[in-house]
């Protein structure tokens, strides 16, 4: 199963990075959102550090949203979904392939967004970069797992770009809350153990929804 999933993911990433439009627009979008936050607040009134966790996570939420809209667009543009379903490949490896491709895509955007975030809001990220990346990974997995499942459904509807955010955002709010709280603890220099509760919740969310997505994905494609 993993072999097929990786082959699918490689194909997605090859197409995505070859067309480059999607990845570039996602990165530019992220930078723009960071700028909006920068000019959207009165520097004297609110210290950057207090706002930083929210800025980071709102930016990453919308960047992930953008990427997830593209997830199944590929198959539809090329009308190749039937081909995938015909191949002797399990539905879960198709989902896993898409999940990996989306995770790499979103991780790339976050990889570029994080240093810029630290730069723009001069947040000292380096001392805590280890656990911070951990939190980001945990939350992103939650977003992308549910997002990939939903984009398999919305991609074929008429107004997919609008429908996916409406369906997905409620599911992103709980992980967003925990990620912001955990990030705030970290950036405030307090030990990670204080954020233990939130991280456990994030992990529980990921485990449940990744498993759920694996179980439910076939229902979105099988007739």
């Amino acid at each position: 199963m993993l072999r097929h999933a990786w082959r699918l993911a490689r194909k997605d990433l090859l197409v995505e990075f070859r067309s480059r439009t999607a990845i570039l627009s996602a990165v530019v979008f992220t930078v723009l959102v960071l700028m909006v936050f920068n000019f959207g607040r009165d520097p004297t009134a609110v210290a950057a550090v207090d706002l930083a966790p929210s800025i980071l996570w709102v930016t990453f939420t919308f960047a992930a949203m953008l990427a997830l809209n593209r997830a199944f667009q590929l198959e539809l543009e090329n009308q190749a979904l039937d081909g995938l379903l015909l191949a002797p490949v399990s539905r879960s490896s198709i989902y896993l392939g898409k999940l990996i491709a989306n995770l790499v895509f979103v991780a790339t955007v976050e990889g570029i967004g994080l240093p810029l975030f630290a730069l723009f809001f001069n947040v000292r990220v380096v001392p805590v970069h280890g656990p911070l990346v951990g939190i980001i990974a945990l939350a992103t997995l939650g977003f992308v797992a549910v997002g990939t499942l939903f984009s398999a459904m919305t991609a074929r509807t008429r107004f997919a770009e609008l429908l996916l955010p409406v369906l997905l955002l409620p599911f992103m709010i709980p992980p967003l809350i925990w990620a912001v709280l955990a990030t705030a603890t970290l950036l405030a220099g307090r030990p990670l153990s204080e954020a233990g509760g939130w991280l456990r919740l994030l992990a529980a969310f990921d485990i449940l929804f990744v498993a759920l997505a694996f179980v439910l994905f076939p229902a979105t494609v099988n007739e």
Binding site: H4, R7, L8, K11, L14, V15, R18, S19, L74, E77, N78, Q79, A80, D82, G83, L84, L85, L86, A87, P88, V89, N222, E223
Partner: protein, 226 residues
Amino acid sequence: MLLADGLRHAFGAVRALDDVSFTLHPGQTLAVFGPNGAGKTTLLKVLAGLIQPRGGRARIEGGRSAVGWIGHQPQLYGQLTVWENLQFWAGLYDVPEPAFVRRERDLVARLGLQAYEHQRVRELSRGLVQRVAIARALIHDPRVLLLDEPFTGLDRTAAEEFRAVLAAQAAAGRVTVLVTHNVEEGTELATDIAFMRSGRFVDMAPRHGRGAAEIADAYRRAVSGG
């Protein structure tokens, strides 16, 4: 070998398949003619395993990995080159590397795609794309070929080439099911002819050398009379 046994399927109130049964052996090519909405594509999708039929069952020797599908959607990725597409699909069918290289070179040669092997599919003409689609469907050496209106959008020469390739496939002992509403196109290839209307096989019989014209009026009688 392909077996359809009492296939039934419906979308809500509309009966797409109503007790369809037949068996095909290697080398046989069944052409299924019928107006649009007669359930032809549903039949193919059920045979391919894309749809679970409400009733009855379809069995293909070798399961899904022995099925090749050519429809009016080429199932190819425009951004990837011909070679990359073939390699991707072959990978999904677990075609071992040496076999892939051999089959890929053979298919590319036979379909006259040598000049385009490393060109992106997006840049190819409709006729060329259809040939790549054929290569894609044959890359894993399927025992059964399912064709859903494959001639649509092909000009005279491309259709002719396509028929030649299919004829070679039948000779190689493959089972083929061709579905189309265009009687002229499908007849030469077929060893057996079936007429389908609202989900049922109105009639199915070997072709016995009957020409397209003969089949055409048999079709009109069967579809209108029944």
